[in-house]
Symmetry: C5
Subunit: 85 residues, 5 copies
């Protein structure tokens, strides 16, 4: 699993049916690389989160039919820039 | 999931049966690296899209038997070069 | 499988149900890059471990429903900085 | 999916049973990095191909029991060094 | 699939049950990066091997319940430093 910081929400009006209507978040890793994660737990911009990838991402989304490959799994209680790198 | 820009269509006359006849797009990431994604929703060159990888890519293609490992999941409403990097 | 050193525990009070209550560890590779692994076997900070990724990570967690993508699979008997790089 | 150029055949007399007797090709990406792909469609050295990875690779091999993680999915009609990078 | 050279055996007395008792090998890629692979076919140190990743790794281990994500699939007949890079 990986540690990301939530950057912003991402809106895709034209969207694959199976991606569902769950919110998508743009997240960044410690190098500033961006990815997109499905968010079933309600993380806010600036939160540090643990993300779940691979087939586990679909289970973590609450339904294995949801076609995500990256899902937010938890909000980290204590994390800051210094822990990151 | 990752954010790519659609570059062009990709034609492969000699093609694996299970890859189906769905269109393939060459897509690039923010560093200009190229990958190939199956496109079930009709993205155009220049569109910024969210792609779904892994086993979820097959479900997103509309049929788990389709042998894609990267499928376009949605067209992003608002994105530009500045958001990318 | 990959070789990591355990850095610390990671606490996520707000956590996806299927991630279970098993402990999470922050682990680092030989370049100092950080990832997060589920730990079903009780590794301690400083231990060198072999991690299992992908769908096998869920089986290794003791239950395929557990939504981990990285699980500690074994503690290495003999390993040190010199073997690492 | 990724774009590779076929470099050569690869012979492994001592081979895992489930890898089957299908030909293996050494392929290179645009940076010259090498990987090995199963070839069910008969690509020749120098051909530019689209490869299918992940669990889809096994389906693309014609039998999900075949233990490949990279399978050639199609030969690209028009591609050259300039398109690559 | 990827090409690695076998470096050494790896002993983990405290090991996840499902990782089984099959030997683990430390393997290196052409850049000297290390990974760990399950070895069901008996490769020796110095051998160049083709490794199978992802879910196919478990099938290649002889039992899908074995929690490996990298398994040696074949020993390459002819390979040397010059072919590698």
């Amino acid at each position: 699993m990986q540690i990301f910081r939530v950057v912003s929400e991402l809106v895709t009006t034209k969207r694959n049916f199976w991606l569902s209507a769950k919110p998508l978040r743009v997240v960044e890793d410690c190098f500033g690389n961006l990815e997109v994660a499905l968010d079933p737990i309600g993380a806010k911009s600036g939160d540090f989160v643990v993300t779940i990838g691979l087939s586990a991402a679909r289970v973590a989304a609450g339904n294995p039919k949801i076609t995500t490959d990256l899902t937010i799994g938890g909000i980290i209680d204590h994390w800051d820039e210094d822990s990151w790198r």
